[in-house]
Symmetry: C2
Subunit: 442 residues, 2 copies
Amino acid sequence: MTSTSSKPGDLTHPENSVRRPAPDPELEREILALARKARAASDTLAEFDTETKNAWLRRVAERLEAARETILAANATDLREAETKGIAASLRKRLAISDGKWRDMIQGLRDVCALPDPVGAVENQRVLPNGLRVGRMRIPIGVIAIIYESRPNVTIDAAALCVKAGNAVILRGGSEAIHANRALGEELRAAACDVGLPEDSIVVIPTAERAAIDVLLKADRYIDLVIPRGGPGLIRKVTETSTIPVIAHAAGVCHVFIDASAEAEMAAQIAVDSKCRQMEVCNALETLLCHRDAAAITLPFVLKALHEEGVEIRGCSETREVFGEAKPASEDDWATEYLAPVLAVKVVEDMDAAIVHLRRYGSMHTEIIVTNDYANAQAWQRRVNSSTVGVNCSTAFADGFRLGLGAEIGISTSKLHAFGPMGLEELTTRKFVLSGDGQLRE
Amino acid sequence: MTSTSSKPGDLTHPENSVRRPAPDPELEREILALARKARAASDTLAEFDTETKNAWLRRVAERLEAARETILAANATDLREAETKGIAASLRKRLAISDGKWRDMIQGLRDVCALPDPVGAVENQRVLPNGLRVGRMRIPIGVIAIIYESRPNVTIDAAALCVKAGNAVILRGGSEAIHANRALGEELRAAACDVGLPEDSIVVIPTAERAAIDVLLKADRYIDLVIPRGGPGLIRKVTETSTIPVIAHAAGVCHVFIDASAEAEMAAQIAVDSKCRQMEVCNALETLLCHRDAAAITLPFVLKALHEEGVEIRGCSETREVFGEAKPASEDDWATEYLAPVLAVKVVEDMDAAIVHLRRYGSMHTEIIVTNDYANAQAWQRRVNSSTVGVNCSTAFADGFRLGLGAEIGISTSKLHAFGPMGLEELTTRKFVLSGDGQLRE
């Protein structure tokens, strides 16, 4: 968890002349003042029409293009400091704003601009017997705090989605990205001023002090939702500390189950796509389960394809009997999110055993069956209560963009409010709206 | 908060021979073992069809009728102990299972039986360009812990709703109701055995030890949702301690705003119904706001009607000018949930000022405008982001039964997942279900 590596002397908010770490009460006052401002802004922001929010998104894109050199220089400072601190190359790669990431960031703003605004839509409208009309209107959640690591592009992506859904957003990125995040935050806020939105609709926490997170997590008077995005340490800390509702985006120990009736070719393609398309993401395949009746012919065919892609196979004893290159799997392997070219493989008695296995070891993220059996396909979709449950497709579809949500703030592993990929709608809630002509309860 | 008044010697679960308070690790083991059983039961319960869950509801009603004498005797024991402890008469009234409450409890089971089962319904089904079919299927949340006070009928009402929606439920009532709650819990569990549902779908925490709540609130491995129902002390404690998502059912400081164009007769009827129909509930009117232009004629007419119903009026200076019986209101009155025949009354400049007032002092529960102005009615519904927002009707409609949800587990004051009255559907979540024929991400 990189955000714990706070350093003295990092309290460099432009409005704050103190360059040494503030004493706790002062830091607390500063952070609470920022949260209070975000709350006040959220009341105003919630009333703005779609066109003004879209104008803000377009203005942010323009401003980022104009400030590109400044932002990349800030990113370069972060990268230099990261190298000095000896931060791993893989982490530095995530920290860098490459040309591709820059393009995606700008395109992301345009994409969010094109999405329909969920706020104000009325669902489930009906008329009660007494004539009272009742509906449920989508409204912003209010103030959302995003606590994330490394990647500075999250600053833009998360702010775009939160504000489009009418929410004020408090952004707390990792200390290693603080220069870039501050530079990006300035453009987000300046664009708000440009189009007449409250500047405090976007608040970037200006300090790398770890204690700032603790203050935020207790500010339930001002903040409605906390979304932590990062490693298990960060998620655990936020869940344990927060008095604010949390939607966690935690690990994915995703499964593909090859049923007895699976076509070998389709099973191999789905396994390779699920595992190899992108290794380091939460919807990547981590454990392959195989029906005993498919173990002799289909399984070695599938494992050969994976092995040719450079995937290390760690199998149960039956797997190793049919595929010589497999190493032995330990108990730990069944619950491991590798995010790397390693795959755990287990032969199971039948679909029931596969379900028992994934309930015991999985993280209820994404589970796919490859089958040509109608009853099993139906039962899998009905019985497996993970956030994404599929038949004959890649685990890679557990993704807000690919599922047609238009955008994605993350993939929730909490069951409340949103389970699975979260788009714009999941950044809203609903109120009851009543239209009467004098109805009493009687 | 009554559930804090734990007493030694109350650890009287039938399966537990220890009659003295267990040391903490032992209590922890006991409570965690119960939670683990509920988790295991929930996996099975989630797969049961509607007919079996309905059979359980009918069987509970039969068993309760058969065990009526035993249950009322247990309730009498609770009432006797409460009197010995000097618990207030109003609280003892809530504790008593009167004939009326008994009838409501039995009828409630039949009503829940008649409701459609939300589990398994697929919403938002669509076909992606690559032919993959995507839908969102309603599934149970899993294991829900209800932490409540005093009223033993909640044991039946909450269990009925949770289990009908496919959730295992852990019930932790107040220590003062423990004999009745245990007796009711035995029938709930026995009825599960009778119809073939897992017995541990319903777990009644058998101890009055306060520490049991602390153990439950950290058992995020086994419990998916905590719903506290009770006073502000209980809500605060649960929110601060829990590592599990919490949906709070907290205070309602509800407002009626009399606009300039309000009809006096309708305003008076709505104010009286909102305030006097039931004083002690969270959707009762607590602060009346009045447009300055309605202060001279309409306001005294409305206040006279309230005063005749025995309501004490605490007004701002302008209110006292037009209604001599009004006492002066203090700053505290604007934020008070009286739950009693007292009403705070304030004259405001206009609708904007009314909205500023309720955002500052209210609890975002229920706000009604009485108006005949089209633009103001629209603006009120759009701008006020409380959980129930209405035009020309009583605050009493902020109620799951009256809004057509069919039942109510409570009224959420949290914005996440459910905001406002919660019915069966709010006790479920949704997973993504994908049906493909070999789709890869590409």
